[in-house]
């Protein structure tokens, strides 16, 4: 039995994971003696450990601990605004998103804003929607050129060691 199979058995025994995965394991176990044996071993160990009941703390001790802890002063942490380039990037992308929405909805208005555009060869060949997409692509390209240095700065910023930062992801 390899580790993958064993992990499936753990998922089955502890009921962790997707239901279809558990159901599949359950069907397999019915036919496999080796898996049944392993499940039985886990169950046996689990049952034996359940004999060890949990300890309670005396209420007096709880009071003492709480009193001792609350006597300690919390460190005064000055909350300051940390400049985070990611916020700018988020703002830019939100703005682009809004522009895309606006353009896609209002793309038929382009012709009314620029009446002469109807005669443009581009409209004839790719249509108004195509033109909107082309303009957006150009805009996106320009924005990418602008934000690249910002992203590099963000990567180098030691304050950005958060779960979602590029630095965190690359370090993993």
């Amino acid at each position: 039995m390899n580790h993958d199979n064993k992990n499936e058995l753990l998922a089955l025994y502890f009921q962790e994971g997707h239901s279809h995965r558990i159901k599949k394991s359950s069907e397999h176990v019915k036919q496999c003696d080796e898996c049944q044996q392993y499940l039985h071993e886990i169950e046996n160990i689990d049952q034996k450990f359940s004999l060890l009941s949990e300890e309670t703390l005396p209420s007096q001790l709880n009071e003492q601990i709480l009193k001792a802890i609350l006597q300690k002063k919390q460190p005064h942490v000055q909350r300051r605004f940390i400049f985070n380039p990611r916020r700018i990037v988020q703002f830019i992308f939100s703005f682009i998103g809004l522009v895309v929405l606006f353009v896609l909805i209002k793309q038929t208005i382009i012709a009314s804003i620029f009446p002469h555009i109807k005669d443009c060869w581009m409209i004839e060949s790719i249509g108004e929607l195509g033109l909107s997409a082309f303009i957006l692509w150009i805009l996106g390209f320009i924005v990418c050129i602008i934000i690249t240095p910002v992203l590099i700065l963000e990567y180098q910023n030691p304050l950005n060691e958060t779960k979602y930062s590029w630095k965190y992801l690359y370090s993993k």
């Binding site: 580790h3 064993k6 992990n7 753990l10 502890f14 962790e16 039985h40 071993e41 886990i42 046996n44 160990i45 689990d46 034996k48 450990f49 359940s50 004999l51 060890l52 009941s53 949990e54 300890e55 309670t56 703390l57 001790l61 709880n62 601990i65 709480l66 001792a68 802890i69 609350l70 300690k72 919390q74 460190p75 942490v77 958060t162 779960k163 979602y164």
Partner: protein
């Protein structure tokens, strides 16, 4: 405040709210105490580390990430690090018997048959043997067994607490099971 979520309480604790701290203490003290107790096997050490764990919660509340943080994992991580650090001093190994000797008298057993004198004696023996077996496990394996079988944490949560991939945690569990089942009289078929 009992109905408040952990994150809401942590937000209040960051602002120095003692009542919120008491609520969170009473919510987790039992679990954390038993977790440390199983790990160290020593009541006094477990009480000290419990106090130290919650002192960290109080004094380092500002380091908890309210947005993406998971309080339970954060708390267990503090307890785990403190316990590991304490155990690395290697001066408590011989105390492991404390838990069986000192607490047998007032412990409630889950089995109803315990009232019978013979069964009681038998269970005491089993419990002693179980603690010895836990003590024999490697620290990483012991952690997983305690968190999984005693604390009923999910593998995903254990992985988060120990900063280890979930697959590794499961592999450790299998190793621990393999180690435990070597004791055939204890874990063999009844």
């Amino acid at each position: 405040m009992i109905e408040y979520t952990d994150k809401k309480l942590m937000k209040l604790i960051r602002d120095g709210d003692a009542q919120a701290f008491e609520t969170i203490y009473h919510r987790y003290n039992f679990k954390i105490y038993n977790y440390i107790l199983r790990y160290t096997g020593n009541c006094e050490i477990a009480q000290d580390l419990l106090q130290e764990t919650f002192t960290r919660v109080w004094t380092a509340a500002h380091t908890f990430r309210l947005k993406e943080g998971h309080f339970k994992a954060w708390l267990y991580k503090i307890a785990l690090n403190l316990t590991r650090s304490e155990m690395s001093k290697k001066r408590y190994a011989f105390h492991y018997q404390d838990i069986t000797d000192a607490t047998m008298t007032h412990r409630n057993l889950r089995s109803k048959a315990i009232d019978q004198p013979d069964t009681k004696f038998e269970n005491l023996e089993i419990k002693k043997a179980l603690y010895q077996e836990i003590n024999k496990l490697k620290p990483h394996h012991r952690e997983v067994i305690i968190m999984k079988l005693f604390q009923q944490l999910k593998f995903r949560e254990i992985a988060q607490i120990t900063d280890t991939p979930e697959g590794t945690i499961k592999a450790r569990f299998h190793h621990a099971v393999a180690q435990l089942k070597k004791h055939k009289t204890l874990f063999g078929d009844d």
